[in-house]
Structure formats: C-alpha cells, structure tokens
Subunit: 148 residues, 2 copies
DNA sequence: GTATTTGCAAAAGCTTTGCTGCAAC
DNA sequence: GTTGCAGCAAAGCTTTTGCAAATAC
C-alpha cells in the first residue's frame, strides 16, 4: 500500500466535518490510517484492542459505516479471495484498482491515468455522477506465472 | 440487460465441457440465461421453483459455484445496494461495467472499448493474467440528477 | 451398477441491532 | 446537563456443509 501521502488524513477530515472524536474513533482511525495491508473488520478490531482492550467489534463496524458515509474509506471485496469479508482502506484523491492473485493470494494495487479517464468517460457518456467505485481483477500474478 | 446475443449459451457450454446436465441444472441454466434483470440466489431459486417445485436453495448455490468455476457466469455486488447479496449474470465476450444509483436503486450497464483497453494495459504493465474482473460505480444516475 | 448430485436441516461467517450505561462537549 | 456513543449479547442474513436418498449415465 504505497503513496501514503495522497491518502486523506482521517482525523483531520473528521474534525473538519465536526464529527465527534471519541476515544474509540481515535484509536480506529489511527489503525486504519497507518495500516500496511488491507484489513478486514476483525483485523482492525484486533489491532485496535492493542490500544484499547475494551474495544468492541460492533464499534468497529459502526465506525467503518461512519467513515464510509463520509467517503473517507473505501470498502473492497478483493474478489472474495478469503470468503465474504470486506476490507477497508483510506480513500485517495486518485483512484486505483486491485489485482487479486488466485494462486498466491497476494493483492496488488495499480494506479493509472487510464482509469481516471474511464471514469470521466462514464460520467460524460452516461450522465452518471460517480460517488464511489471499485475495480478489481482476479487472475494470476507475474510471480506465479513465472513460477509455473 | 441488452445484447443477449453475445452472452454465452450456458447449456451448450456445459455440454461442450462434458458437465452432467441434471434436471436442476437445466432449470437453473434456463432461468439465468433468460433473466431480464440481475438476480440474486433467492430470486433464481424462486423462479426455478416455478419449473421444479422441489428445487432447493442449496442446489442453486452449488450450481452457481459450478458455473462460476467454468467462467460462465459473473458474480456482482452491485455496490451492496440491498445488503450483502450477490447477483449473477451470464458472462460475455466483451466485458462491461455496472452503474448503481444510490437514489433510485437502478442498475445500468455500460460497455466501452476503453474498459477493454484498460484490461490490456493492466495485463501488459503488471504481467497479470486476468481471469475475471468487476468494475462497479455507485452514484447518482442521469434521471435522478435531472429530477433533483 | 457406480459415481454424482440433490434435498434437507443444521451450521457457519460476517454484519447489524436493541438496550442500558457511559462519555463527550 | 444533554446528546450521542460504546459495550454486550442476541439476532439477522447470506452462504456453506454433512449426510442419506435419489438420479444420471
């Protein structure tokens, strides 16, 4: 998960919107902001508990719902590589896509101008105002192909 | 759901692959093939029951798993507009994307050469062999924008 | 006749909700 | 002091699984 710089600053964005910053929200926002891989709700919960042992999984879900509503985190499926969980990441100014390798399970990110252009094309052609989007591919990554 | 012509012929494809064509599979394949909107497992089940009253929901899921394995149907989330269900559609030669309107709930499809090109770019740049993919946007459709 | 598939019911996995007490401002 | 949030436990919803009986070839 590169390009930390262009991710939103969750804490600042919440403050800017006048959202109450409770202890649990501060903890979770901290965990999500500095995640080094894609985390599901349970992983966020476990990492959050390191900072607040009483943190509850329901609170994790409620906080994620809040962040999603404000467009500050994106929810991913990652091609359902490991069941039906969802994964979360901080939204970015530039959109990017995800590649899920069916063989090794690795998740790759890829950012390209062409994806931005495609979105603009959709907005213009369909008259559709895009609020959020998700592009995921499943297949076999370079390493696994070379290994085979 | 236009362009019925370019969708795979499920029954023929299964026969071609030597997959056993049971009564239930025939019924379900028929339902999916001629669906006029995106159906979730329960909707498929209800429509299938019209043709075989004993059809079981578990069989629906097992058949969908089979079709997915063979790359004959695609699984969609449609931006989780109505909970966490999945929707299914017959795969096509040309890929297309889905637009989900958060206001009216309508699902639009859009096919463009640019999406194909983006996939080729990803394959070439990342060395990733794409087996399946999914591009979904959530936002506000033209009608809802004009109405507002 | 043999191997697969089905129905049924139960379980599993992830997420949401009702309620009471606690925390934020 | 008021308003909204957190914890807990229970329920909800979609999907999967084990197993005996039925079906396909």
């Amino acid at each position: 998960m590169p390009d930390l710089a262009q991710r939103y600053d969750l804490r600042a964005e919440l403050a800017r919107r006048g959202v109450r910053l409770t202890r649990q929200r501060r903890v979770l926002v901290e965990v999500i902001q500095h995640a080094t891989r894609h985390l599901d709700a349970e992983a966020l919960w476990r990492q959050g508990q390191a900072r607040d042992a009483n943190l509850n999984l329901a609170t994790v879900y409620r906080t994620l719902a809040l962040l999603k509503q404000h467009g500050l985190v994106d929810e991913l499926d990652l091609m359902h590589l490991e069941g039906e969980k969802h994964y979360y990441e901080v939204s970015r100014a530039q959109s990017h896509l995800h590649l899920a390798c069916f063989r090794c399970g690795r998740i790759e990110e890829f950012q390209t101008e062409e994806f931005e252009k495609l979105q603009q094309l959709v907005e213009q052609t369909c008259g559709f105002a895009i609020k959020t989007g998700r592009l995921e591919f499943g297949g076999v990554c370079r390493q696994c192909r070379e290994r085979a």
